[in-house]
Subunit: 226 residues, 2 copies
Amino acid sequence: MLVLHHLEYSQSFRILWLLEELGVEYELKHYVRDTKTLLAPDEYKKLSPLGSAPVISDGELVLAESSAIIDYILDVHPNEQLRPIVGSRERVDYLFWFHAAQASLMPLVLMDGVFSIIQTRAPAILRPLLRTIFSKASDGFSKPRITKLLQKADADLSTKPWFAGEHLSAADIVLIYPMEVLHSSGRLDSYPNIKAWFTRVYESASFKAAREKDGKNSIVLNMKGR
Amino acid sequence: MLVLHHLEYSQSFRILWLLEELGVEYELKHYVRDTKTLLAPDEYKKLSPLGSAPVISDGELVLAESSAIIDYILDVHPNEQLRPIVGSRERVDYLFWFHAAQASLMPLVLMDGVFSIIQTRAPAILRPLLRTIFSKASDGFSKPRITKLLQKADADLSTKPWFAGEHLSAADIVLIYPMEVLHSSGRLDSYPNIKAWFTRVYESASFKAAREKDGKNSIVLNMKGR
């Protein structure tokens, strides 16, 4: 039996959504972040080969890395809509967004997040200086790259409802996490087609079921709300 | 005809290596970085949907994103050693490392690189302060995660010559770039099995052929050597 070791407010929400969309049997184990450090608990870190979420186990196998887990689950439960096959019309757009989500958009969003955490944790007297330095770094590196990706996303979604085409695919599922980080900080306001995609996501039965099982009021950790 | 738009000292070296390993026909177009900014030239930025390397074109299609390009090429030229098929013994290790390379190792290496560039470009008087702040951030975030990945890599390579098993696969090809960044800065000295993997890589005929066509003395941009 496949077990999803689900860390609250983490990238593992996507695996929960995928499993609900597939409608297959699995066991869900919940793990709660440390209330002070906000890090994963020690038992989670020990379980995971990388010390990070998500992690699944299946018999003897323990597997980390979001996209590897998604591909593994779709190997066990093949689904041509969720992972368009070689030669299909959806294949190339699927490949681009499935990979760009984790290898481009997520790292850029993470980098801006790390800049922000460094500032927050620095002595108050240093914060204005750090804000200036990180703004410059973000303007020169992460921001223009995020903008390019969002412009392409918005353009792609002007002609089709989902990132790979007419159906929800693993590309949408993997994109939800970085997109939600950007959405929750108001950075998607000028992208109407991405916002319309969010409406479709929020209305899908499998997403609602995943939110229900997750039991949280947000996918991403809202620092302000804590 | 597939065209590889090859930017010197960039992640696109891996696509060159893949094409040489496959032994298929393709056209190679060389692009040179701006000598002052070290960025890609404008004609490259215009060509790429993300403004970054690598990029391929194939008829009307223009595709960016390393792993998407690799999967696309392996769709067109299927190869069960380079991309182990569903159900094969190599499949799960392949999936883990193919994805971890671009979605975990590369972003962590890039983050340390950005920290270093910010320091280098800051006024001299601020550098010691920034060095302290970034060391702390790196010690708390990127370094332990890179170490976990390298420890797993070294352990995996103690039982097999290549990341997916007995044969070179796209996992090795995609890993070469972040591994080379770590190697060239002396950060692999305590990982004998990764170093032995490098020897196998450097001795492979397709890698040698790719280096020959690349025409550079290094895959990664050696800032000190310029």
